[in-house]
Each structure stands twice: as C-alpha cells, then as structure tokens.
Symmetry: C2
Subunit: 762 residues, 2 copies
C-alpha cells in the first residue's frame, strides 16, 4: 500500500468512504467505529484518518520541499467540507486499538489550514495537534523493540474530524451494572436527553462491538450525528447480563455468548467486593488467599467473633496465624486477617472452604493477645476498631469501605446452561461439609472430586479425638483413639453421599500434615493436655518427639496408612458404613471413589489397594449394585508422575493434586514463599505465580508425561485435576488440552470452570 | 541329563573323574574345589556327589521296588574304594554354593553300607545322614516358590567322602587380616604344623578361587590329602592385600584385581570399626549416618568433650539434636549420638565432614541437660558412663567394645593406582575445610566438586557474623553484616584454592536453610542476643517472624541471591579476592567454578549469571590467564531437570545434587523420614533406602532427562554428581552409564568412587 493511501476519509462529508481492503484492515479503535456507523447509514461527522507512517512521510517530504503527498493530504482534508463549501473547525483525536489513559485528549476547535503548507507545518495549529497526538502514543521501548512492534507503530492512527454543530453528549450503550440496553450514564450522573433515533445507533454499535461502548454524539435540532465510540469495561454483572440479552435479541448465538465472557470476571459476581478502592489508601498488603472483600470490627478471638455475629455485627478476625482452635471464630467472622501463612496455610484453606474473604501473610502485622492489641506497621489497633480487607488482592484498608453484594440474577445460570452444551470435561468440587456441597451443587457441580477426610475434624470436639489418635504412644492407644473416630466419619460420609444423591464422591484417605493438626501455643497445649487427660509436661515431650522439620514432606498421606494400618482400616469401614446408610435412604446408587494421597511408588498403591480391597470384599458391599466402588490415587509428587504407567495398572483413576506437585517440582513451600515470591515477580523471574496459574513447562510436562504413561498402561483410566489450579481459567485451558475427564475446584470456582471448559472445548 | 548322571565321583579313589560337561556345570561349593584340586593332581580324598533330585528319585524308586538307579548309586559308592579293596568309613558333607551356618555339619565315621539296600534306606546310617543333610538345606518357601528356585533346589548336592587316614587339619589359605599367602589360623588359635607340600595346594586354591579359602586336609605320615575347602570372608584389609599380592604373583592382571575388590568394603578400611559385635547386645538402634565405630565416655556438652579430649580420653557426645553451637563439641568428641535427625541433619552432615562416627535418630533416647542425665529405653546414663556406637549400622552398645583401627598399608594405594588406568570419570570431593581437602587429596581426589560456602561458618565466632546477616532487619543492617563476612570468606577461598593447587574448585553460592543456622534453645537464643547486642525479646520476635514451616523448601539457595543481591555481591568479591591471592602464591592457574544452588527456572540462572559476570568483568580478573572462571548450576529440583535444555545454554556445567532431588522427587524430608522408612523397608515398599542408593526409575530418569536435554542444547556441557549418592557403589554404576564427567563425594568416599568407576568403565 502506498503512503498516500494511508491518509483517507473514514467518513467523508459527502458520499461513501469506499475504502480499499488494506485501508479497511488498518481501521483501529475509534476509526473503526466511525466507519462502521457511517457505513450503516447513520449520520456521522466527517472524519479523516492518517497513519503515523504517512505523517512521518509528509514531514520528511516537507523537509525535501516535495509536495506530492501533501497534495493528497490536502485533498483528503477537503473531504471534510460539506455541501455548504465552508471549511469546518477541526478536532484532532487519537484512535488507539486499546484505550490508554496517557493519550492526548481530543483537541477541539482547531481552524482549518488556510494554505496547503499550513496543513503539514507543526508550527500551525492543525499539524501541531496531529504531531502531539502521535507523540502521546509514546516512543518504542528500545529493549523491547522488534520489527512487529515497529510495524504496529507505523500503523498508529490520528483522526481529524469536523467539529459538529449542536450539543455534544456522552453515554454508554448499556447500563454498566445491569447491562440493560439503551443510553446509560458514563461516569455516574444522569443520562442525557437524547432523541429516539439514538436507539438505532446503540443497537447498531452493541451488535457490531459486542461490548459496552462509550459513545459521543452531537445533537443539533433533534438530529443526532455520531462522533466517536470506544469500548469500556463494565461490571462483571453488566457484561454478563448484556451477553445473555444479545442472545435473546438474536444478535449472538448462545455459543457466541459463552465464548465471549471472561471466566475470570465471574468470580467477582460470587463474592462481595469493594465498590471502589480509588479513594482509599491501603495501610498494608499481604496475600489475597480467599477472594472477596469484608469490612468489620477487629476481634482477636473466637468468642468475641461469635458474640458480635450473634448481635448481627460484622467482624474481622485478626490473628498471627490460625489453627484448628480458630475454626469457630473463622466461621463467625466476616473476614480473616493473619500475620503469617500463605495460600495453603490453615487460614487460607478454611477461608476458601467457608467462602470467607481472607488476607494472609501481612508481614507488618503483629498481634499481641496478652495486651489485646495488634500493630500494623506503626499503627495500633484495639478490639472495636474497624478494618476492611480485600481478599482478592491482599490489601488492608483503614475503617469501613462500602461493599457491593453479589448481583447475579438469572443471567449467570442461563450462560452456564448454554456453556454445558459444548463442555466435554466434567466439573466437580472440593468439599467435605454439607454447606460446601450444597453451594457447589447450586453452582452446578457434577460430583465431589476431593473430600479431604481430615478436614471433617475441624471442630473443637472432633479435634480432640483426632489429636488423641495422632498423639497415641502405641498401637493399643491408637486403636482406642481410632475407635472414637469411626462414628463421626460414618455420619459424615453418609451425609455427604446423601447430599450428592447419586453423583460421584471422591474420598481422599487421611492426609493430616502434623503441623496443621497439633496444638502450638501454650494455651492450646494446656487445653489439649486437659482434654486428653495427660500431663502438660508429658504432652510437650510427646509433641517434641513427633515434631517434624519439614511437615510438608513428612509422615503423612499414604505413609500414615502403611505405618498405621489401623487408621486405614477405620476409614474404609467408615466409608463402607456411610455408603451403606446412604444407599438405604435413596434411590440412586452411591458411587464412591477411594483415593490414596501422597503416593510416590506403585508399591504403596498396591499395598493400600490390597488392604482396602480385603476389607471391602469382606463387607459384602462389593457385590451390591447399590454402591459402586472405584479406587485410585492422587498424583502430587514428581515421582508418581514418572511412574504413572506402573501405578495406572492398579487403579481406576488418577487425580492430580497440583498444589503439592507445584511445591515439590519447584522445591517451594507455599507457606514460606511470600518472603521471596514478591521479589521474584518484581524482578521478572516468574512471569506468573505458579501457585495461581499452572507452570506449563515444568509441572505441566510432568502431568502430561503421567497422563501419557497412565493411559498407555490403562486405556480406561479416568483422569482428574483437583488442585487449586482447577479453578484458574488459564490453567483450565491448558488442562483441557491434556485429555482429562474432570476437574474439581472449590465451590465458588465451579461456575468459572464450567465456563472456561466450555470455551476450551468449543 | 539323566538322574543317574547326577550321582558321580568328584574324586574317585582310582583314576580321574572324567566328568561330563553337564556334571562339571553342576559342581557347586565344596564339590567344585574337591574336583579342581584333584584334577590338578593333588592327592584328594575320594568323594561322591549326589544331587537332591537324584536322591529323591532313589527314594521313590525304592518305594516302587525298582533298583535301576540304586545299582548306579552303589556303583558310584564303589568308586570310593581304593586299591586295597576295603570299603572305607564314610563322611557326609553338604556342598552349598553359598556357605550357610544352618547346614548340617559333616557326619564322620559312617560305616559303608553292607548291602545295596542299605545304601538307600533312611533307617541305615549312610542314607540317614544323606537325608538329614538334604533336609538341612531347608524347604522351599511357598510364598517365594518359583520354577527357578525349584530348579536350584533340585541341584543341591550332598557329598559322600571316604574318611581319610591321619590327622585332619583346618587352616586358611591366607591370613585373614594381613592377606599374606600361606597357612593361617581359621578362628584365632595357632596355625597347625603342616608339611611343605601344602604350599602347592594353597597356591593352587588361591589362584583358582581368588579368595581366602578355609581348607580341610588330612595328614598321614607326612602326606597331605585334600578333604574340602570353602571360601571365607576375610577382613577388608586382608582381601585387599591378597588382591595386590595375586597381581604381584602374576596370578591376576591389575585389571582382575580392580574388578574383583568390592568397593563397599573399602570404607571399612577408612574408619575404625568394631572388632567383633557378636558377643555384644545392642541397647538401641538409630540411623548410621556417619560410618565407623567409637567407644567412649558419655558427655552432654562441648566443654566436657573438649576437657576429656585434652586429657586424651575418648568421649561420645550425646544430645537430643545438634546445632552450630555443638560444632566444637562434635570436633572434640570421638563419636556422636543423637535422639533426633536423619542423614541430612546437622549432626549427620558435620559428622561425615569431620569423619566422626555418628548414630542419629535414636527414638528411645532422651537427653535431659538440666538434670545431666540421658535415658535409652529404661536405662539411665550419667556423664562418665561408657557407650560404644557403630555409625555404619546405627547400633548402640553398652560399655567399651574393642575397636580395630584402619590398617591400610600400601595395597589400597596400589589398587587405586591401577584403577585410575581404566577410569574415565573424574572423582572430586565435597570439602570446604583445609583438613577435609587434605584428606581427600591423600585419597586421590581430583578437585573439589562441592564447597558449601555456608559451611565455612561452622565456628562460634563466624556463626555470630552469619547470624547477624540472616537476622538483619533491613538492607543497611544486612550490608554491614555482610561486610563483616568478606574477610573470612576471602581467606577461606584463598586457602582452599591454594590447597588444591591447580585442581578445579567448585564453590557453591550460599545455601543456608534457615533452621540449620538459627539459635533454637533458650540458652542459644540468649547467647546469640548477647553476641548481636540485641534484646532477647527482640531476637525472639525476629526469629518468630522469619521462622519457616518447611525450611527445606524455603528461602534458600538462589532465592537468597536474588532477593538479597548484596549477599551475592559479597560472595563473588570474596571468591575473586581469594582466587587472586591464591594465583599470586602458586605457579598453576586457579580454576574456579561458581555454582548456583536450588535453581528451578532458567530465569534464575540468567539473573545470577548476569550479576556475577558484571562483577567478575569489572574486576579485571576475567581476562587473566592466572584464574579461570566457569559458571554453572546445581540441579536438585525436578523442574530444573525438565528445563535443563533451557538452563544448559547459559552455563558451563550442571552438577546434580541428588540428596535434595531425591527429597523433592519422592516428597520426603530426609530428616523426618525415620518415622516411616523402617516400616517401609520392613513391608517391602522400598527395596532400598533411596537416600543411600539412587532411585533409578524416578530420580534416575529425571537425571537422564536433564543430561539428554542439557547436552542437546550445549554439547560442551560438563556434568557432575555431587550428592551423597556419589559415594555409593550401586549408584555410581548407574551414573557411569549416563555419560557424566565427574562425581564428587565426601573425602572418605573418594577411594570407593575411584574403584567403582574403574570397574564400571572397565
């Protein structure tokens, strides 16, 4: 294309634009919308586009005293002159493909050049405005300079537009919050009074853009003339409602709607969020480990939290770190703030399960429970002071900020319903409580992909029983302690199987990393000693003896089942009894999946399978058609990935625990990572936090190897993903390419997974 | 072969045996030596062999009243009758391929059967003795029964031998301890008086067997007749001296000697060991984390240990676990015994470095320093009581047991010299102290493959400086603390480079896992606070704040260099200064390898390389031919193995840290593993401890992947192994098949690696 062709009328004052194919291709940003609206026959203010390449050529021609391009440019400008023959006042606008706050705002009321030379002379108003508009696009970054970005740059466009007569008005094509079609206020305020003819313009733009558009028109004697438009980010709810509305209006197919909604934005609909954080200054930042925002009164213990909740008050539980003793307090609190811990800390796990916003690992926070005071940096807070936390990005604010409650409406259900039509990978949930299971079912979960049996003991009464087992000194004491657990477990399983009513439930065998289940503070140790009926000194000795240096890599998972077979036996028996009870109450058979955690060798799988099978076969339930058992392993260690072929021959399914697999593949303790993760992202060592988005090149390759070897050995193998990555859209897209059968994520992420996997299959 | 052929004369009274090829193949154990000695023309007592299969057939034929086989058997027995035609008295012996204490001892003086029927009647003496001899081989274990072991069993042999006239004498072919050829006492005692003609027998047996043999002869009127022989296990020193002697006598080639010495036995030569543990009863067992035996007085602290050492007394330092404060005590002690910790615990690491025997993780041990008493099970011990520990197998004995000091002589040097001729993989050592470097050099180390720079701070004075750095609250404080470290480091590097005098030295950048370097007990915290000049309370707060949940996977290695670049800068400057100083003192140039630890992404390598290169280039030393720098990474995380292709393009070498790679691939904290590792081995989950012998199928595959991808990206890549597996013969054989360039092991393992790698290349 010649440089002359890069100066053209997007919307001439008279007639049609008649653009060449390459000119059409060049239309970016506002230029595109002006052309499209004009082409559709809507009155449009005359507009000329000039590319940076053409402008630079004009300027260098000027230096050489050549005038060929200038003649063409002036001829273009003449296309802004209407029937009356009078040169209009001009406006200069940028027309960026992606809106950018740093660009030069429209320069209005520039007189038309009096002579051809004025049209290119940067000393004159028009050329000066054009030059400055190009400059506002910025200069190429030498470090990142490459031929492609140079090329993009040459195509940057500046628009020269005739000033329209009448009032200039701005509005949105749809309401930002409700998504309703029709003129809506842009930045709060009122909707301008507009003639009815603007509705056609709005419908036209909405259909062409498929997004909320900010629109600029001139109204003169009841006539509307289009000036420009650019897409704007609406609220997640507004975008969702708009998408469904476009399908109802037959502008989009359901498939269009499914593929065009950003799954990341769905989560914003499912938790309260800050209305606007622009005016508020964060007083601290930590890790956002459970999304959503919460405001409330500071409290340092469970009793105060419960008392406040009973009085209908919101509170934020502020602690150095949480442990099982804090569960009730966490449930009572509106949000949780901790000084220590990361994504997989007790606080993070419980907060996500219970759907409570949580900010963890705020290094500047320290809580002094003896003085009943906490400090954040230099500030001191006492119970009754107020904080607001944003668990989505980890910020902490002073006082109470206004929050927006989830606005879902029927649109999310409609969209997810459409998404299910094209989805081929099942979406389950990680849940062990009835509340979590119910939430997940309401979000469309198709089963439980991970019931962490040890989480069923997160209540003070049960924790005593579990601690009794962990702390038992010999087999006899352990056997007695275990006996006390069977009834709890049987009831839990029966209820969970019943709640899922025929959908598969995957029970992971006990996997309690010791440090999460043992008392730590003096007070906890004293309480535990009292509840176990042992001397404090004896308990301390025992605790010291079983303390682990790296509990993440310690005596847990399958290692517990093999060293203490009585624990395995108790669990299998409780699962059997629970399945039997559920099967007697309901019509649908009970599909139970038994999953062995933290496996590194096929011999471990064989050992547990043999022991479990014997118990199941002795129960007689194996031959019942009311309960269907399957057996598999969690794959969460690099060695298990490599040996998946050997393991696959012995199991019905493999489910990848991507959290622990990321920890071991990278050699990073997620709880301890905050000390360097921020620096790593700042220095560009990690592009993305590997605990949020799956590391495709490392962890991802191990998963791919495991699937390939597993399926080669056992073509019927069912494959799932049950780590937190199963709720992350980018990770889900990667997983969907690996031929998996299901994912399992936290209840609040189920809608995200449904939508993402539909997009990935579509 | 017919069953009749399975009854034959190994050494007939008259003439030669003339065995068929299949009969020759059948000769196992004593039968083999009797045949060989007889065949060589040495007078031998007439002997018949019968296999279990033939014997069983004889017995079932007897039940059927068939006599064909019996006729052959009786004919065989007639071959024991010499020229005088008188049937001799008989001896029945077993003839096992592998000697086994449970076999029936020789039954002497059995009258020859009077009738053919007596020869197979278990009611008669000969047949009864044969029957019982077969029974003493044991019955096949049904669980392990398979066609191969059934086959082996059918070939089991019992010998029927004529009783020789004269005195029966027993002796060894070589001295068990010195390896000197010639008759030697078998179980202590004196050497029997033997005719000179026995020397020919000894030479014959030694050459044929290539092992120490226990020999049985009859001496009658100065004439020697050979009865039987079986191989015995001599001391490691005895075997080694014998191997070298065989080469000197031209019985073996040097290559034979190299390939026939078991490298595992070399380690026994390099540490004191128990003379005999047979009479002693262990009172406890833990993990043998540093080989060798030690006896001494129990002591609970460094001061007492130092005092005892000053008085020339041996002591055993008994503690719950060791930390940097115990270093002096460990150096002063003869051996170390701990209640907690495993192979990679502080105690284990320091013990191996200093060559001290150490038993760790004795679960029945508890030390109460306030009461100055320790308990092992029910027993109570106070300072002054005596213990003996065996760090090779983890046993603890009451009192003082006799120890054998290393007896090496020149043989080990000779053998290792021969081994170097066929070895293609270099052997370096893991060393940071001059003592360790000197030991390793004396054992033939060809460089330092791993100098753990953080270990250079294992002294009280330096530990204060290092702790000051770790505990610094901000960059300024850290910078001051670092400044205090440069001089120490410069001196250390200069000395180490000088000691290695031109051999390559690989310096690993700082990798201090926090828990190993911080004070833990109240006393240590008070001391540290005093030495740092801060309040105890402030130090406790700081310690609490930087405490890590899983320090193994925490803020260490390259993560420290990237988050605190000032530490990296200090280290590189110290290395530069050390190299410059060494290069000014010696003729040989100084080859320095800088190694980045705990890498999981190529971006980490790039970051450190860029920073290190800048500092080196600014120093001017990069262009000197007196110092040669190379740069590489330690590969000790699964992700680094997978991304080795990307990493290899930026480095000169990769060195595998197989300890941490095993920890992360299996998801096992080596320190915490003792709680389940024993049960895992007992239940057959692990065939071998993966921290002792490399796991070929998991960790090994990751290493193979890394080497393949690394070499594909960078054909000049140098590849080493620097984990503890580099001192384990089985692992070394595996590594040698991967195309590596060098291994690096602890000084005491250097001879083992030299010999093993020679065998693997040969």
């Amino acid at each position: 294309m010649s440089l002359a062709q890069e100066m053209f009328a997007v919307a001439p004052a008279l007639g049609k634009a008649n653009l060449s194919a390459s000119q059409l291709k060049m239309l970016a940003g506002k230029a595109r919308w002006i052309f499209r609206v004009g082409e559709a026959g809507f009155p449009t203010v005359p507009t000329i586009a000039i590319t940076r390449a053409a402008w630079d050529a004009l300027q260098s021609e000027r230096a050489r005293r050549d005038t060929r391009l200038r003649t063409h440019w002036v001829a273009c400008l003449f296309k802004l002159v209407g029937k009356d023959g009078k040169p209009p006042l001009l406006v200069v606008r940028t027309s960026a493909a992606i809106h950018n706050g740093g660009l030069q705002p429209a320069r209005v009321g520039i007189p038309a050049p009096a002579a051809p030379g004025d049209a290119v002379d940067p000393g004159r108003p028009l050329a000066r405005a054009i030059k400055q508009a190009f400059e506002s696009y910025g200069f190429p970054d030498a470090a990142w300079g490459n031929s492609r970005s140079d090329d993009d740059r040459a195509r940057q466009i500046v628009l020269v537009q005739a000033v329209a007569e009448g009032e200039v008005e701005q509005f949105l094509t749809r309401n930002s919050i409700t998504g309703v079609l029709g003129p809506a206020p842009l930045n709060g305020g009122a909707v301008p009074r507009l003639p009815d003819s603007v509705d056609a313009l709005i419908s036209l733009l909405d259909a062409k853009a498929g997004r909320h558009m900010a629109c600029l028109v001139a109204i003169h004697r009841g006539q509307v003339k289009f000036l420009s438009a650019r897409p704007v980010q609406a609220t997640a709810a507004g975008e969702l409602e708009a998408a469904v509305d476009r399908v109802n209006r037959k502008v989009w197919s359901p498939h269009n709607a499914v593929s065009r909604v950003d799954p990341n934005r769905l989560t914003q609909l499912l938790h309260p969020r800050l209305k606007s954080a622009e005016d508020a200054t964060p007083i601290a930042t930590g890790l956002g480990v459970s999304p959503g925002a919460a405001s409330g009164i500071i409290t340092f213990n469970a009793e105060d939290a419960a008392r406040l909740r009973a009085r209908g008050k919101h509170c934020i539980l502020v602690v150095n770190e949480t442990g099982p003793a804090d569960i009730e307090g966490m449930k009572a609190a509106t949000g949780i703030l901790t000084a220590r811990g990361g994504m997989t800390s007790h606080a993070g796990v419980i907060a996500r399960i219970t759907g409570k916003p949580c900010v963890a690992g705020v290094r500047t926070l320290s809580v002094d429970t003896t003085e009943n005071v906490c400090r954040i940096g230099d500030r001191e807070f006492r119970p009754g002071d107020r904080l607001t936390i944003d668990g989505s990005d980890g910020t902490v604010y002073l006082g109470t900020l206004p929050l927006a409650q989830p606005h879902i409406g029927g649109a999310i259900g409609t969209l997810l319903g459409w998404s299910d039509a094209s989805r081929t990978i099942a979406v389950r949930t990680n849940a062990e409580s009835l509340e979590a299971a119910a939430t997940a079912l309401s979000f469309g979960a198709e089963g439980v992909g991970l019931a962490r049996s040890e989480h069923m003991f997160f209540s003070p009464e049960r924790m005593v029983a579990l601690r009794r087992m962990i702390l038992s000194e010999d087999e006899e004491a352990r056997r007695r302690a275990i006996h006390g657990l069977v009834d709890f477990q049987t009831g839990d399983y029966s209820a969970l199987f019943g709640a899922m009513n025929g959908l598969p439930v995957n029970v992971r065998l006990f996997d309690p990393p010791l440090h999460e289940f043992l008392p730590r503070t003096d007070e906890e140790i004293e309480d535990t000693a009292a509840s176990l009926g042992v001397a404090v000194r004896a308990l301390r000795l025992r605790l010291e003896r079983i303390a682990e240096t790296n509990p993440m890599l310690g005596h847990r998972g399958v290692r517990l089942a093999i060293t203490y077979p009585e624990i395995l036996q108790m669990q299998i028996q409780a699962i059997l009894a629970g399945a039997r009870a559920a099967s007697e109450r309901q019509l649908a058979p009970v599909p139970v999946e038994i999953m062995v955690p933290f496996v590194s060798t096929a011999s471990e799988v064989a050992w547990v399978r043999d022991h479990a099978t014997t118990i199941i076969e002795n129960s007689g339930l194996a031959r019942s058609d009311r309960v269907k058992f399957s057996f598999g392993t969690m794959i969460e260690l690099p060695r298990a990935c490599l040996r998946a072929g050997e393991i696959a021959g012995m199991v019905d399914f493999l489910s990848f625990g991507t959290n622990d697999l990321t920890q071991t593949t990278f050699g990073i303790s997620r709880d301890d990572a905050p000390t360097f993760l921020a620096a790593y992202q700042r220095k560009g060592i990690y592009e993305r936090d590997p605990f949020v988005t799956i590391d495709e090149k490392g962890v991802g390759e191990l998963i791919a190897i495991a699937i390939e070897r597993g399926r080669a050995a056992n073509p019927d193998l069912k494959i799932g993903i049950c780590g937190e990555h199963a709720g992350d859209p980018t990770s889900l897209k990667f997983f969907s390419g690996l031929g998996i059968d299901y994912v399992s994520c936290s209840p609040y992420r189920v809608p995200v997974a449904r939508l993402t996997l539909a997009q990935a299959s579509g």
